[in-house]
Amino acid sequence: MGGSEKPELIINGKRLDGRTSDQLRDIKIEVGAVRNAVGSSYIEWGNNKILAAVYGPKEALPKHVQDPEKAIIKCRYQMSPFSSLEDHGRTGPNRRSTEISKVTKEVFQNVVLLEQFPGSEIDLYIDVLQADGGTRAAGITAAAVALAASGIPMTDIPFAVSVGKVGSELILDMNKIEDNYSDADMPVAISPRTGEMLLLQMDGNLTIEEVNRGVQMIKKAGEAISKIQRNALKVSYERILEKYKK
């Protein structure tokens, strides 16, 4: 994107919302937002507001999609019609949501222990209620918490965050305006236990050195995100545990 008049995105070393180049937005995660789901979470990542819900494992239907060796994951990412200033007037799949659903599914195929549920399916719903850039990263972060809360065995809780380039500077966790006028955008999902990269997409141009530096920034920021994810999962159980501790 980007027009002929490009706004200045970094002034005196500070970004438009007052953050430094490697600062995350405020993240808040809540577990159990959807009562009927097996596991669910609600994330507020800056101005992003996203619900994630997990259903299953249940019998995979239609029957021809079943895998007798392992479970399959079905993922649906969707932006609400009212979520953004841009036009998302139609519900239902479009080119962008189909792509994001696919990459999200592939992230979780690599961490969930699918062999334990042969012939079944796990449904993953990510609904964006309010969007302000970086919703695919926030959606993956929320869905990981929802999956862990549902009790489905997985090797790790992955996180995702994007890094972008403005002029010659790399910035972490871009918001909507920065995303629209930046020179490059690279969302990355990482499994923090092993450091494996589960998602790597890039829009724009980055040099090899910049990609390496961006991944380092993401890994550093990931420690903070992982901590928030783990606390969100533990907090309700520890509250009850605390109540009866003598």
């Binding site: 596991g39 299953g56 494992p57 249940k58 019998e59 079943q66 007798p68 222990l113 334990q116 549920f117 042969p118 012939g119 079944s120 862990a148 809360a149 549902s150 009790g151 489905i152 065995p153 997985m154 090797t155 790790d156 809780i157 499994s191 923090p192 236990r193 994810q229 783990r230 999962l233 533990k234 159980y237 520890e238 009850i240 545990l241 109540k243 009866y244």
Partner: protein, 201 residues
């Protein structure tokens, strides 16, 4: 000491084989949300589904009478099947039955043995991960509830519980309290208080 662990969290610094964990050369990591006991070296799930194992008692509802077999809903990713030639009583759809698992078959069905009809009473559904706590060590918790309320209770490992007679509301409350506080210690004492407190009234 017990502590809550999440998937991917390191629980022991050496590779050890424990249920619900994975290990590499650097250590052992949890695979599920659960509570880990350092002394007993066990990781018990806090959430999760029931996986059928031979010999498990389950409670289900008959969904369909196919003539040669019954299809039974057992609150799991799999369908329950019972062959009618081994059953003395006639079952019809809607009946509550208790049965034991013969085996999990390929194609996502569970073969059930000896389904017996449960007459009257009510069903309640809890998370299957809480069932071991409701039963207790050597049936101790279940016996405590049965003695305190006079209710007949049958527990299915698939998370379905059948209750009949006695102080049924008190028994339900006790079970719901166990479900909520399953990961705490001293629960038996608190259930005793709950049961005796209402007895006086």
């Amino acid at each position: 000491m017990q502590r809550i662990v999440v998937p991917g969290e390191k629980i022991i610094n050496t590779p050890v084989r424990i249920e619900n964990t994975i290990s590499d050369k650097n250590g052992t990591y949890a695979c599920i949300l659960g509570y880990f006991d350092d002394e007993r070296k066990s990781l018990i799930p806090l959430e999760g589904l029931w996986q059928p194992r031979p010999g498990d008692t389950v409670i289900g509802v008959v969904e369909e009478d196919k003539g040669t077999m019954y299809i039974i809903n057992i609150n799991a990713p799999y369908k329950g099947l019972a062959l009618s030639k081994f059953i003395d009583t006639e079952l019809s759809s809607g009946d509550m039955v208790a049965a034991s698992v013969k085996q999990l078959e390929k194609g996502g069905t569970v073969m059930l043995l000896r389904p017996t009809r449960l007459n009257g009473g009510k069903l309640m559904s809890v998370s299957p991960s809480r069932v071991p706590r409701i039963i207790g060590k050597g049936n101790s918790m279940l016996k405590q509830i049965t003695d305190g309320t006079g209710t007949t209770i049958v527990i299915g490992l698939n998370g379905v519980i059948w209750l009949k007679g006695g102080k049924i509301d008190l028994a339900t409350n006790a079970i719901l309290k166990i479900v909520e506080e399953a990961h705490t210690t001293g629960l038996t004492e608190r259930i005793k208080v709950l049961l005796s407190g209402n007895k006086v009234q």
